[in-house]
C-alpha cells in the first residue's frame, strides 16, 4: 500500500467510457496511480479493432494501439443501452471522481446519463467529454475523427510539400493532444473541487485541440496577415531543412553558426564558393538559399546521418537524423534514460516493449501497473467484490447481455 501512496494520483477513481479518441487521457492518469475502470460494451470496445496488431492478426485482444492507450486500467463490460446497465452505471458513477467519455454530444443525455443527471447524486463528479467539435456551436452534431479534426483545425493544410496534397501527421495526433488537454482539465477541476466541493463538466473539442497547437501558423496570420503554406523539406522558415545523406536524411540548420558550418565544408573541400565574404551576410544567404542548399546537399550525400548528427552536435548545431521507429527503439539516449518499459502479458506468457513516460518525478511514482485489461477481465472484482452482486446475478446479467 505504501507503494500506491507514492503515486501522485492515488485514490482517484475514474470511469473511462472513451474509445480511441480519448482513451490516452485516462491512461495518463492511470499510470500516475488513478484507479481507472474502463467500461466497455459487452464484447469489447470498437477501439480494440484499431491496429496495429500483435503478429499482424486483427483480434480484439491483440491491438497494440488498444494496449498502449489502456495501460494500468481495470476493465469491465456494461451495456449502457439497457435500463439495467444504466442503473448499474449510475451506481458506479456515485463512487467515481471522474468520468471520461467520447460519445457524440447527445448520446449520454439520451440514456439519462448526462453530466447534469449524474451530478445530481454526486455533486463532486467531474466529467470530461472529448468530441469532434465540442458540446456547443453549429457543428456540434457533426461527425469527426483524427483526419477531419486535422483538416478543420488547420494542421493538414501546412503539412506536406507545395506539390502534394495536404498531409495528415502520422498517428492520431488530434486524439493525443485532445487527451492531454482533457487530462489537464481533469486535474485542474480536481484542485478546484477541494475548495468548492463541486465537480464540473469539461468540454474538449478535437478541432480546438488541433488549432491550439500550431506554433507559428495562427500567430503569423493574426500579426502579419500571412497564410502559411506547405513547405516540403523546409521548416516554415529556412532555419531548418531536411537533406539526404548516404543512409537516410538529416534535419539541419542551413543558416545558423555560419562560419563553423562553412569551415567544416571547406575542410572537406566541399564549400564551393560559400567561403566568399558576401555569404557572411544573413540577408544575402536568405536571398540565395537555393544555392546554399545545393552545395549542402552535395556534401550531406557524402556522409552518414550519424556522422553529421554527432559532429554537428559537437559544434552545437541543432541537427538530428530523421529516425524511423526501429531507430527510435535503438536510441542510446532513450535506452540510457530507461524510457522503454517492459510490460508483462501473462496470458500469452510474454513481455512487450512500451514507450514509458516523458516525465521523471523524483518523489512520486510513475509506472505501468499492468497491461490493458482483457474484455471484462475485472467484472467479477468490480461487480461481485465492490458492488456486492452475487455470482448468480452476474451470470444472469451476462446471459442477458447487460455485462
Amino acid at each position: 500500500m505504501e507503494c500506491e501512496e507514492k503515486m501522485a494520483l492515488a485514490g482517484l477513481r475514474v470511469l473511462d467510457l472513451a474509445d480511441d479518441k480519448a482513451s490516452f487521457c485516462s491512461k495518463l492518469l492511470a499510470d500516475m496511480g488513478a484507479k481507472v475502470i474502463k467500461v466497455e460494451k459487452p464484447g469489447g470496445d470498437a477501439s480494440r479493432w484499431v491496429g496495429p496488431f500483435w503478429k499482424n492478426v486483427p483480434h480484439p485482444e491483440k491491438s497494440l494501439s488498444f494496449w498502449y492507450n489502456n495501460t494500468s486500467k481495470l476493465g469491465i463490460t456494461l451495456n449502457l443501452e439497457s435500463k439495467e446497465g444504466q442503473e448499474i452505471f449510475r451506481r458506479l458513477s456515485k463512487r467515481a471522481d471522474v468520468i471520461v467519455e467520447a460519445f457524440p454530444p447527445s448520446y449520454l443525455e439520451g440514456l439519462g446519463l448526462s453530466y447534469e443527471a449524474l451530478s445530481k447524486t454526486n455533486p463532486g463528479l467531474i466529467m470530461a467529454s472529448v468530441t469532434g467539435f465540442g458540446h456547443s456551436g453549429p457543428y456540434r452534431e457533426y461527425k469527426s475523427c483524427d483526419i477531419v479534426a486535422s483538416a478543420l483545425g488547420g494542421q493538414m493544410y501546412v503539412c506536406g510539400a507545395p506539390d502534394t496534397p495536404p498531409l495528415k501527421p502520422y498517428g492520431q495526433q488530434a486524439y493525443s493532444t485532445a487527451s492531454l488537454f482533457a487530462s489537464i482539465g481533469i486535474l485542474l477541476t480536481l484542485l478546484e473541487r477541494k475548495h468548492s466541493g463541486q465537480g464540473q463538466h469539461i468540454d474538449i473539442s478535437l478541432q480546438e485541440a488541433v488549432a491550439a497547437s500550431l506554433e507559428h501558423v495562427m500567430v503569423r496570420y493574426f500579426y502579419e496577415g500571412v497564410v502559411s503554406k506547405r513547405q516540403g523539406n523546409f521548416h516554415w522558415n529556412p532555419s531548418f531543412c531536411l537533406l539526404p545523406c548516404k543512409d537516410g536524411h538529416i534535419v539541419l540548420s542551413p543558416l545558423m553558426e555560419w562560419e563553423t558550418l562553412v569551415e567544416w565544408l571547406d575542410s572537406e573541400g566541399m564549400a564551393s564558393d560559400l567561403t566568399a565574404g558576401r555569404w557572411r551576410e544573413e540577408e544575402y544567404r536568405i536571398q540565395h538559399l537555393d544555392h546554399i542548399i545545393e552545395i549542402l546537399q552535395r556534401w550531406t550525400k557524402t556522409h552518414t546521418t550519424t556522422e553529421l548528427f554527432e559532429l554537428g552536435q559537437l559544434m552545437h548545431l541543432p541537427w538530428a537524423p530523421v529516425a524511423s521507429p526501429g531507430e527510435v527503439l535503438d536510441s542510446p539516449q532513450l535506452k540510457a534514460r530507461g524510457f522503454f518499459v517492459s510490460v508483462a502479458h501473462p496470458e500469452v506468457n510474454a513481455y512487450f516493449t512500451y514507450p514509458g513516460a516523458p516525465y521523471k518525478f523524483d518523489r512520486s511514482t510513475w509506472n505501468i501497473q499492468r497491461r490493458a485489461p482483457l474484455i471484462g477481465e475485472h467484472n467479477e472484482q468490480l461487480y461481485h467484490q465492490e458492488l456486492g452482486f452475487s455470482r448468480e446475478k452476474l451470470n444472469e446479467l451476462s446471459s442477458r447481455n447487460v455485462i
Binding site: L9, G11, P52, W54, Y68, N69, F133, P138, K143, S144, C145, A151, L152, G154, Y157, V158, G160, A161, T164, P166, K168, P169, Y170, L180, A182, I184, L187, L191, Q207, E215, H216, M218, Y221, F222, Y223, V227, L242, H249, V251, Q313, A320, P321, V322, A323, S324, P325, V328, P332, Q333, L334, A336, F340, F352, T353, Y354, P358, Y359, F361, R363, S364
Partner: protein, 395 residues
Amino acid sequence: MSAGVLRGLRVLDFTWVLAGPYATRILADFGAEVIKVQSRKTARGAELNTTGYFSTWNRNKLSITLDLSCPEGRELALRLVGMSDVVMENFTPRVMPNWGLSYENLKKVKADLIMISMSGTGQTGPWRDFVAFGPTIQALSGITYLTSFVSDSPIGLGYSYADHVAGLFAALAVLASLEYRDRTGEGQYINISEYEAMCTLLGPAIMDYAANHSPVIPRGNHPNYALAVPYGCYKCLGDDKWCAIAVFTEEEWQALCRVLGNPPWSKEARFSTFWQRREHIEELNELVEQWTAQHNPGEVMNWLQEAGVPAGVVKDAHEVAEDPQLATRGFFVDVRHPVLGKTTFDSTPIRLGRTPARFRRAAPSLGQDNRYVYQELLGMSHQELSRYIEDGVIG
C-alpha cells in the same frame, strides 16, 4: 466570484521560446500568478515582448527583469524561489546548476518546492547537452520520418508541434505534483524530455516495430489503422482546395453514395463490402475525387455532414480564424495590448463548465511588474529597487 482554479499558486517562470511558456500559459489562464523572469540581454527573438509570438504564449503572465549572470541577481532569484510554489525552466541542462540554481539549492530555501526542468532530451543520458529545437526533436522521435507519402522522402510537420506536446506534459506534471503535495506535504523535482514526450504520441508505431519487427512506414493520407474507407484528402474545386472525408460504417457509406447521387460504380462488386472497398481504396478514392473536384470544399463538407458522413474542409490559417464553429465557441479572443493594440490569440481547448479560463491581461512588457514583485512581494524598499536597477541587477 473566484479568480480562477489556481488562485494563490505562484509560479516562478524561467522558461523561454515555446515549450515552457506554453506550459506556464495554461497555469496562468487558470489563475496562477506566473512571474516570468526576463533580462534585457536576452529579450530578443521569441523573447522580445512586443512581438505577436511572445504575446500569444505569454498572456496573463507578469514580467520582471533580473540578470542571472551576476551573483546579486542569483541571490534575488533565491529569494523569489522562497515565496513560490513552482519553478519552471527549459534551458539546456547545465544552465541552472551553473547559476547555482539547481533543485538541490532551491529546495534549501523552499522545502516543498515543485521544480520542473524541461529540455530537448532530458537532464541525463549521453545526449543531454545536445542542442534541440522543435524540428530536431520531431526528426529524432520518428514523426518526421512517418509523416510523408513515401519512406525515402520524409516531409514532417512544418512547425514545432513537439514544443506544444512537451508543454502539455509539463502542465500535467505540475498539476499531478500539486495533487501529490496536497496529500503528502512534499514537493519534488521533475525532469521532462521533449524527445520522449514526442515519442509517447507515437506509441503504437513504436510498439509495432518492437513486437512485430516489421518496418513501420509512412502512408500519406492512407487510413492505415483507421477502419475507414473511402478515407483521405480529396481535391475540390478551386486553387489548393481540399476536403478530408472518412467513411467508417456501412450507414456512412450508404449516405456517401446518396450524396454522390448513387453513381453506377457504387453498386459494383468491388465496392460491395468494407473489406472489398478497402482492397480497392485507390480506385475508390479516385472516383470520389472526380466528384469532389466539381464542388467547393465547403459544399462537400456540408452535404456530407448533413447526411451523417465525417468530413472537414482542409482549412488554412485564414479559414481557421473565420471558422463558424470556432467563432461561435469564442475560441479566438481579443485582448488590448499597450504596444501592439488589439491582439488576437487562441483561448484554450480546456473548457471548464463552472470555472473557465480567463484572459485578463495581454502579455507583459519587459519588467512591467518589477515594482509589484520586488517591493510588494519581496518587501524591497523603493531605494533598494532603484539601486538594483541602477546596478543593472534588475534590468
